[in-house]
């Protein structure tokens, strides 16, 4: 067990931010963290990093508590971006890497390589405040990866980026994982979690309401979706037995079912209505699971 959070509870006065949270991430795995604002994600991350001490329970990395001794192995991208606005990009990255005990020469080399990879080598001599938000984000990510950490905590790494940059950052994160790093990240975007993560947790009011591998989570949810595309009024289908929820779409409808045999019924019934263009049985999206478990839409 590489990263292990055992029964961690954090109270601020009477308010319980994180309640008896347990979590384990295998070495080299990517773990996705979902939760509405105020669900306790950042507090959990801060406990993992040792910035806050849990009121109860403990956090260990390879069996040992995380202290400032472990600082060289940890990379952190905070939710609120933080860089020195008036410092040059290169100086800044080298400084932050040095604080994580990387040698100046290595830091310089790595910084150059990362800037190259993100296609912004010409920003090395620019001040951070001169950069666009998206580019600052790249610098921020480099700052959390440059010292080659083995445990990486990324709080909302993709928020506020255009799709091209999201792709670029995503592939960088995947590469780092491939090289053996353990990654925990939170995201506002369910699809990012679905795409990148092996395991996930949904947090609500400081508690893990759903957790485990994404495949299992979906299977255990016990519901599936039937997507139909045809140019007819499909509302009659909602009356069929076994259909739990009917949602009309522009070119058809999505029906939620619990039993796969209901899908056969829907198929025969819908074919009676006319020309069927598309029929598929889909796994539930994390979005649906989230809404079902937390009881409200995600952020």
């Amino acid at each position: 067990m590489a990263l292990s959070v055992e029964h961690a509870t954090k109270k601020f006065g009477d308010f319980t931010a994180v309640d008896n949270l347990s979590l384990s991430v295998e070495e080299g795995q990517m773990h996705g963290f979902l939760g509405a604002n105020g669900a306790g994600k950042t507090t959990t991350f801060r406990m993992i990093l040792g910035l806050l001490d849990p009121t109860q329970g403990q956090v260990t990395w390879n069996g040992r508590p995380i202290t400032y001794e472990s600082s060289p192995f940890i990379g952190y991208l905070p939710e609120e971006r933080g860089l020195y606005p008036k410092m040059k990009v290169e100086d800044q990255l080298i400084y932050l890497a040095q604080l994580r005990k990387m040698s100046k020469e290595d830091a310089k080399k790595e910084t150059a390589a990362w800037l190259e990879r993100f296609e912004v080598p010409h920003y090395a001599d620019k001040k951070v405040e001169e950069l666009s938000k998206g580019n600052q984000q790249k610098i921020q990510l480099i700052a959390s990866l440059v010292h080659k950490p083995s445990l990486i905590i990324l709080d909302e790494p993709f928020s506020g980026l255009d799709p091209v940059n999201v792709g670029m950052l995503k592939s960088a994160i995947m590469d780092v994982q491939q090289q053996g790093a353990t990654i925990v990240f939170s995201s506002h975007r369910m699809d990012h979690v679905e795409e990148l993560c092996d395991d996930m947790s949904i947090l609500d009011h400081g508690k893990v309401v759903v957790g485990g591998s994404i495949r299992e989570v979906k299977r255990n949810f016990g519901k599936q979706n039937v997507r139909i595309k045809m140019d007819r009024d499909l509302t009659s289908l909602s009356q069929l037995p076994g259909v739990e929820k009917y949602t009309g779409t522009i070119d058809g409808a999505v029906l939620q079912i619990t039993d796969e045999s209901t899908a056969d019924l829907i198929l025969t019934e819908s074919m009676k209505l006319g020309q069927l263009r598309h029929f598929s049985i889909e796994e539930p999206s994390l979005e649906e699971i989230f809404i079902a478990k937390v009881g409200k839409a995600y952020a």
Partner: protein
């Protein structure tokens, strides 16, 4: 230790490279040179004015030569000249700038004179003339009373007057006046330094917090190490800056070669520099700096925006200002009991105890006790500050008051 030096270096270098720091240093150093050479500069401007002509309306007619003699005796370059013009004409001359000044002098029981010039600001000229008139008056009175020149001289012989003090800790009057200037300058330096550099720290900390880089920093390095490395870095910067000022000031006055510089050195007591005074100055500067820097870092860690720093720093500023009041008023009466008492109060001690050490011959244990009290306070404040800092840097919110200290401590608390 490695990361300590990295933060130390970073704190020092980024500040040392800022334009404001370089400009401040250069301007202050330049000001020293300007000040030292001020007499030369003034002289070079006023050269064309030598042989200023003083028009004298003198009814009797025999006063002008006497006046001229007196002026010459007192090394004045004013030329006294009898004039036939009326006062109205003379006033008009002054307004037009063709005449600089005139004197109306009348003989009676005593001499009465009226000096008229364009503005009353000019101190030098009127003073010389007044002295000259006074001298004539004295000579005339002596003559009337039938005194010889020697007798008149005896009449105005000053008494020998010396001050001596019985108290052991008191210095002789001569020593005091020498010490006073030096102590005054050094207190001023310490005062400026304990305001300027701790403010810099508070701004730095608040800056790192508001730009949110703090969270990355303290996830890399412990907040306590970060805080002390920063304090040490800025402190070193302060020492370097003060040294530059000191060296610049020294050379400025040494090289200017003007009379004033020499006078300045002797008045300030620099000609007989007491090494111990300087050593104590450095020591109290460092102690004062650390004391206030820890406090400033603590306060800086509580705010979320740099705009709020000044507001929270206000109580600390009051402490410094009060201690400066005590110290500056104490220059005149260093043995007053309120000075003695406050020299043991940690936040006043850097200025006030230095004043006592500089002005009085107090036994060594007194400053040592005060230093020990300050060291203890710095220790306690450092421990306390580190705890507040640890939680404070994670705190973001709208309310910024000293009440947040409690919140910060509980946030940074172990359990």
């Amino acid at each position: 230790m490695h990361s300590f030096w990295i933060i130390f270096k970073q704190a020092f270098m980024t500040k040392a490279r800022t334009k404001s720091f370089i400009i401040t240093t250069v301007i202050v150093a330049a000001a020293f040179f300007l000040l030292a050479n001020l007499p030369n500069i003034i002289e070079s401007f006023s050269n064309d004015e030598d042989g200023q002509v003083l028009h004298v309306i003198d009814e009797s007619g025999d006063l002008v030569p006497q006046l001229q003699r007196q002026l010459e005796q007192s090394d004045s370059d004013i030329q006294a000249m009898p004039t036939q013009m009326s006062e109205d004409e003379l006033v008009q001359g002054i307004t037009e700038g063709t005449i600089e000044s005139y004197l109306v002098i009348e003989e009676g029981q005593t001499l009465s004179a009226r000096y008229v010039s364009e503005t009353a600001n000019e101190i030098g000229a009127g003073f010389d003339v007044e002295n000259a008139v006074q001298a004539i008056q004295t000579a005339r009175t002596a003559e009337r009373l039938g005194l010889s020149g020697a007798e008149a001289g005896e009449l105005f012989m000053p008494a020998e007057f010396e001050r001596e003090a019985v108290s052991d800790s008191s210095k002789t009057e001569e020593e005091l006046s020498q010490a006073r200037g030096l102590v005054y300058v050094l207190i001023l330096l310490i005062y400026v330094a304990v305001i300027y550099y701790p403010n810099m720290i508070a701004m730095e900390v608040a800056n790192e917090k508001s730009s949110r880089v703090m969270e990355i920093l303290i996830s890399s390095v412990s907040p306590v190490k970060h805080m002390f490395a920063k304090i040490a870095g800025i402190g070193t910067l302060g020492i370097v800056q003060m040294m530059i000022f000191g060296i610049a000031g020294y050379f400025a006055f040494k090289t200017s070669g003007s009379d004033m510089a020499e006078g300045f050195f002797s008045v300030m007591g620099f000609s007989e520099i007491k090494v111990s005074t300087f050593l104590f100055a450095v020591l109290f500067f460092l102690l004062g700096y650390f004391l206030y820097a820890v406090l400033a870092a603590l306060l800086g860690s509580l705010v979320s925006r740099t705009e709020d720093v000044q507001q929270l720093m206000l109580p600390m500023m009051f402490l410094i200002i009060i201690s400066s009041f005590i110290a500056f008023s104490g220059i005149g009466m260093p043995e007053a009991s309120y000075v003695t008492i406050s020299s043991y109060i940690p936040f006043f001690a850097p200025l006030v105890m230095f004043l006592r050490v500089g002005m009085l011959d107090i036994p060594l244990w007194e400053p040592l006790l005060s230093i020990a009290i300050m060291l203890l306070t710095i220790g306690v404040l450092g421990w306390f500050g580190a705890r507040v800092y640890r939680g404070g840097v994670l705190m973001y919110g709208s309310s910024q008051s000293l009440k947040d200290i409690g919140k910060a401590i509980s946030l940074g608390n172990k359990k």
